[in-house]
Amino acid sequence: MENLKIYVNQSREGYAFSLLPSQRAIVKSFFGEIANPASQVMVNYDLKSGFEKYYSKLEKYILPALLGIDDEKDLKRIQKISFIDPFTNNIIDTLITNE
């Protein structure tokens, strides 16, 4: 899969990472039964900042929860993941899984 789009909203509590229906359908079609994509994963600010302080950027680690795929080899089949601001359609961040 070339490019997966994940939309990122901010709220008072934290970040919401959303996978739109068309993207969920693409994930399901590409991965079949091994994938169980969710519509949204929410992470509060404290958790995100604490995680990134001790580990690394959170975005990579929410993928298993959002896509319902926990095998890293499978996740690497997605070449690029774009994190997009839904209000501006600007790409906030990009994750290249093979790096």
Partner: protein, 156 residues
């Protein structure tokens, strides 16, 4: 009708019509005290499940072998997909409530992003729906599956 602010009465009538449809299906309804973009809350008493609903009401105009209704949606609200709102689009045609479409915010946002539905002017998305022979379309996008789409509000 030429009554001043009639559009407010019309919109409110739509809200009450939408609320009655949820009540008929066993969902309780509430109107928020402060308007922050959600028109009504619907809640399932037994489970406590709550859903946020945005009601849009439009008067349809006759066309050749069809009729069309136009809805104005805030793009800012539409893009705030974390909220998980259900949009209820109510159509009034020939003095009757003729159609009700229910579509989730994420689906509508997806259609806007990927199928270029509607037209954008400033911060609003104008969605013109054409009703013809039991089908509903905006441009080439078929909205028919969203007619009477209460599947997220079924009580088993």
């Amino acid at each position: 009708m030429n009554k001043p602010n009639y559009h407010l009465y019309f919109g409110r009538a739509g809200h009450l019509k939408a609320m009655s449809e949820f009540l008929l299906r066993g969902w309780n309804v509430a109107v928020p005290e402060v308007d922050e973009g959600d028109d009504i809350f619907v809640v399932q008493h037994e489970t406590g499940e709550l859903k946020r609903v945005q009601v849009k009401t439009a008067k349809a105009k006759s066309q050749k072998e069809s009729y069309a209704a136009q809805f104005n949606l805030s793009l800012k609200q539409l893009a705030d997909i974390k909220k998980g709102v259900h949009y209820v689009l109510l159509v009034r045609y020939l003095d009757q409530w003729s159609d009700i479409l229910i579509i989730t915010q994420e689906t509508l946002f997806d259609l806007y992003n990927n199928h270029q539905i509607g037209s954008v002017h400033k911060d609003n998305l104008t969605l013109r729906l054409t009703f013809r022979k039991n089908k509903v379309f905006n441009k080439q996008t078929d909205f028919s599956i969203y007619q009477n789409n209460f599947e997220d509000f079924l009580i088993t």
